[in-house]
């Protein structure tokens, strides 16, 4: 049986540490490439938009790098896409932080977490699937690692795959076809996070088999 490693463009727009997400992609059988090259978006099997930082500055850098138009084109065409944290938030329209517009591919807007909780949320929290899909049946739960101050609201409920609760309910996984976004960091969420990355990489691999997840298990004693 042949396996292949789908080529994933990890967009480098000054959004901080990209190594962790690249390592997670490599660990589940993908071939990640850090790039800021607009043509790489169309050429890759899938695109990852990582994100730590501010929405306003990040959109400005995406624009300067000439990445907005190819990203919109890829997203409209349904190319496999994974937005992580800020990368998920940028799928939406108006962003409170920086009073700027995101990519606007999904309907909804992004605002700060409400009062009464420590902001940013830093740490593990529960993620509950609210629809049946490639990540599992509705009602399934796993834990994930969050670092964020903003959430999506006014979203299309058809795009919501999973919810979490931090002072209030918010979308923690959204998807429209192979265009996915996670409010948490799957690359820091242990085995459950790697499973999510692997499932998404499988979409980018057009059904061909992937090498098994082994990297995490290697150093674990029997």
């Amino acid at each position: 049986m042949t396996t292949r490693r789908p080529r994933i463009a990890v967009l480098d727009y000054g959004a901080g540490n990209l190594r962790s997400i690249c390592r997670a992609l490599a660990a589940v059988g993908a071939d990640p490439e850090v790039t800021a090259e607009p043509l790489a978006v169309g050429a890759a099997d899938g695109v990852v938009l990582p994100g730590v930082g501010a929405a306003g500055a990040s959109m400005a850098r995406l624009r300067e790098a000439g990445l907005v138009a190819p990203l919109r084109q890829a997203l409209d065409a349904g190319k496999p896409f994974l937005g992580v944290c800020l990368g998920m938030q940028l799928l939406y329209g108006h962003q409170e932080e920086g009073d700027t517009d995101g990519l606007g591919v999904l309907s909804g807007r992004v605002r700060s977490l409400g009062s009464g909780v420590k902001v940013p949320q830093i740490g593990w929290n529960r993620v509950r699937l609210v629809t049946d899909g490639p990540l599992g049946p509705s009602g399934d739960e796993h834990d994930a690692y969050f670092v964020h101050s903003f959430i999506a609201e006014g979203v299309d409920s058809a795009d919501v795959v999973a919810l979490s609760h931090y002072g209030e309910v918010f979308p923690s996984v959204v998807a429209r076809g192979a265009v996915w976004g996670t409010q948490f960091h799957p690359e820091k969420s242990g085995i459950a996070g790697l499973r999510l990355v692997r499932t998404w990489v499988g979409l980018a691999n057009a059904g061909e088999p992937l090498a098994p997840v082994t990297a995490v298990a290697q150093a674990i004693p029997a």
Binding site: S20, R126, D143, V160, L163, V169, A219
Partner: protein, 273 residues
């Protein structure tokens, strides 16, 4: 169709904030080797930080701390390599501390794969380091470690530096408040009085600091029994517990500690849910 928060909540009416308290094993590392590495499990190399990190990940540790206990520049170079190798295989948050003196030191470790850096002595000598680190990397990256010792006259706690050898005379609560104001994301609070005693965490110290800052406090120093974790994590005290020898020497396993904590009503994440 635009869904309101109430619409989303109706999809999962019983969903609540997990409110997890964290359990964080701390590995003392020098020149790329773990000091006091665990020997009760069948690891090929008990002194290899990568294998230990993977072991604790599998056990359900929520985060890991690597502490460079020599903190020489040679040692930090090997620490960068250890962090790189660990981050290739372990996909939970990693904090690195020991000998970090500048934003450049922070950047080197964060680029190697650390998620947070912990500063102690250098932040006291140059508090602006906290502001700079938070500005460049975000406050979620910056942990301020405080070594506290109770004052003989009972007037609170003093901040000690240089591995607990030097009394700065600075009040611990006042320094914690200043660190938080300058941009610390968390306080790692070690009781020098309790460290190594197995008598339990210094609960009045935890209450004094947690009551004064709005950021998470990680309790360190004194864990000897499983009850000590739940005590430290009671409301108004710590958000996380750090422990070294209680896990390294196999007295308790992380998963066992978490089961005991859950039985006492502490919300904890169980391994690989």
């Amino acid at each position: 169709m635009s869904a309101t928060v109430a619409d989303l909540a109706s999809l999962a009416p019983d969903l609540e904030d997990a409110g997890y308290r964290r359990v964080i094993p701390c590995l003392d590392v020098t020149n790329g080797r773990v000091v006091k590495g665990i020997e009760f499990v069948d690891l090929r190399d008990a002194g290899d930080p990568v294998g230990l990190a993977a072991f604790y990940d599998a056990e359900g540790a929520d985060e890991l701390v690597f502490l460079d206990i020599t903190a020489s520049s040679d040692s930090r170079r090997t620490m960068v390599e250890s962090v790189e190798r660990t981050a290739d295989q372990v996909f939970i948050p990693l904090t690195v501390g020991g000998g970090i003196r500048s934003v450049a030191d922070m950047r080197e470790l964060l680029q190697a794969g650390a998620d947070k850096v912990s500063v102690n002595t250098a932040a006291l000598a140059n508090p602006v380091l906290i502001d700079e680190g938070a500005h460049v990397f975000g406050r979620q990256c910056i942990v301020v470690a405080i070594d506290a010792r109770r004052r003989p006259d009972g007037s609170g706690w003093s901040v000690f530096t240089h591995g607990g050898r030097r009394d700065t005379g600075i009040d611990v609560v006042r320094w914690a408040v200043e660190a938080a104001r300058r941009g610390a994301g968390e306080i790692l609070l070690t009781s020098m009085d309790r460290d190594g005693t197995k008598d339990g965490y210094d609960l009045p110290l935890l209450e004094s600091v947690a009551g004064a800052v709005g950021i998470p406090v990680i309790a360190s120093g004194g864990a000897g029994t499983l009850d000590h974790f739940a005590e430290a994590l009671a409301p108004g005290r710590a958000d996380a517990v750090l422990a070294a020898s209680i896990f390294h020497f196999g007295q308790y396993r992380v998963e066992e500690a978490k089961r005991a904590m859950a039985a006492q009503g502490v919300s904890v994440r169980m391994a690989q849910r």
